[in-house]
Amino acid sequence: MEEQNILELKHISKQYTGVKALDDVSISFRRGEVHALMGENGAGKSTLIKTLSGAIRPDEGEIVFEGVSHAHMDPHQSMELGIHVIYQEFNMMPELSVAENIFMGQRIGSGKLFNKAITEERAQKILDSMHAKINAKETVKNLSVANMQLVEIAKALTRDVKVLVMDEPTAPLTDAEVETLFEIVDMLKKKGVTIIYISHRIAEVFQISDRVSVLRDGKFIKTVPTSQVDRDELIRLMVGREVSDTYPKRDFTPGDVVLELQDVSGNGVEHISFAVRSGEILGLSGLVGAGRTETMRMVFGADPMDSGIILLNGQSIHPTHPSDAVKLGIGLIPEDRKQQGLLLNLPIFTNISMATMGDISHFTVLNSRKEKEKVNHLVDTVTVKTPSIAQLVRNLSGGNQQKVVLAKWLAANCKVLIFDEPTRGIDVGARHEIYKLMNELCRQGIAIVMISSDMEEILGMSDRILVLCEGRQAGILEREEFSQETILSLASGQ
């Protein structure tokens, strides 16, 4: 049995500030198998792959490759050994040709100079062997996403690849393209290449994998032969926990409808219709790329909308710029707070009063006394832990930074608040405080739309859940219908 294993991970742990991304994970991969890796967002799949590719170093554990033990990999070594990772975001030079990309970093031919003809010829040979209909002379940026992916695979084939890791390879592909990909996966498997296949799509995993390993919250749960497990069992393994009572209870007495979308399309989503009442939290669930953020960015005026109607308190609104939304009383707490929510090198007070500077100024001259009063009050309300409101935001912890973003919108007296992944990268304690604040906002009659990839969070906090799948509305669940299984089914389009 041991003989068959090409790659073994033993007791791998990796800790990021306060979060155990991987906790004593041990998995073995056999030569020539398709091994699916499953788990919810944040289960530790990406961290595991990065350990293999050498992008990160584990704190503990060993990686045994073909019988040789390594404490960690580095990117060059990993590639030399024959481990190749195809990330969701491709790793290519769009302005160069297919052939140049395929042989990037390698010397082709005998001469010291770059030999275009030989490079192209060899690249074409590899592409043909994959039955890929791609011209090696084509510029990469002109290829379809599916073909780019094939080029990525071809890149792996130029080296003696033994383990090929594919991260959500089918996410951007059409059904026909998926079939082509599977044929290639099959061909590689016959050659003895081990494929580590990461996907959220359960049906696919059953279609092509031999064995499947499940991760949950950074822990290894189980490896099972795919033939000995069914779909429900797999979901149970991935989810496998009760919603704990980290979610503070809240009496929900829904008020009137505040925000309503009627058949909204654009920005990659189609036909979205829902309503949020005052005092309600509507959860927005779905896989990464399902169009949750895209939908709400249209409501906020950050991206243009093609068609449909948005109603705020029964009045039709047409936000074409975030400033319109802000004036109407809609606030957005974005997914990536460092890139989109904060002015990191400026003080707390600037950040908090950013959306409401008009209110604290008189003919554009800021009333700093008024500002200080207001900001100090808000900082106390959301309990930002800081010695002074002049502290630069980059010196705050993730939880406190998120509270600053929240305080910015509290200052603006919003009627609707959109939370996009409100607790991503935030430790447990601060999470609880943010949940309590959200509940408090509901009590004050604010309507909340919460986008979240955290299953526990969405089940624990939402009053209703809208599930999106590939830019379309897959269903709206009432509280009685809440279950992780239902959401996963809807989100994966089944």
Partner: protein, 320 residues
Amino acid sequence: MQKKKLNLKEYAVWIMLVVLIAVFSLAVPNFATTGNMVTILRQVANIGILSVGMTFVLISGGIDLSIGNQMGLVGVISAMLMVQFGMSPILACLVGLVVGVIIGLINGLLITYTQMPPLIMTLGMSYAARGLAYIITGGYPVYGLPESMKWLGQGYLFAVVPVCVLVMVIVIALGAFIMNKTYIGRQFYAVGSNEEAARLSGLRVQRVRVLGYVIAGFLAALSGIVLMSRVNSGQPMNGNGMEMDALIACVVGGVSVTGGEGKATGMIGGMLVMGILANGMAVAGMSEYLQMLVKGAVLVAVVAIDCVSRHQSLKSLLKK
């Protein structure tokens, strides 16, 4: 720890200033006289006005390399209006200011709507402005300005305060007030610090950026008019290269070229450091070539020290 480091950075330019004054006072006999101090202020007046505009643009995350040559263009336009068309000095100067605003507007609108790099746009504008100045004058200076025009650049208020220095002080004070105390100024910092976050907080980011170039254009025109008055003629090559002096003053004064950081007070320090350096060396009889060399070295040294200390503070943050 963090706080201390930032303060040090803020004070660095003033420490440099004190050291420079001390060194020149001791080493150069004619340096530390009241007369020479006034001369220094007069010499930096144009750069000072120009630097305020540059600061606005830099803080909002842009750069304007056209302001130097705009000075020459505005100078000759106003001069020709007075000399050849007999326009009154006040009106001619107003037209000059409007030209500056229009150039700034073109810069700003093209940069924001085509999203081209500000460096390229304003470099192009810089050449265009100088070309235009040469075309309309045929390459010859415009002489024969009305006597009253001298007052702005050469005159004194109460016989002690040079008018051009007064103009600079007013511009800097007003600029500092707008940057620190107003809603408009706050928006420049927000946009330069994180454009997307500013947009998602409801700020009209593009308007702010355009306004930066308009302010820079207006102040370039003002500086150009002051210079025209000081040299008592419209010279098409006036102001050429001054955008770099303004940039150096800003950078030495701690205004970040990546946007979002910097204070008007720092810019004043930077401007005085460069002014004193130039004057001290000139009074000491050093050649202009040597002055150039020193100017360049100071710029590189200051930015290098800033970058290294920034890098280290980042590293220490990561280690934590």
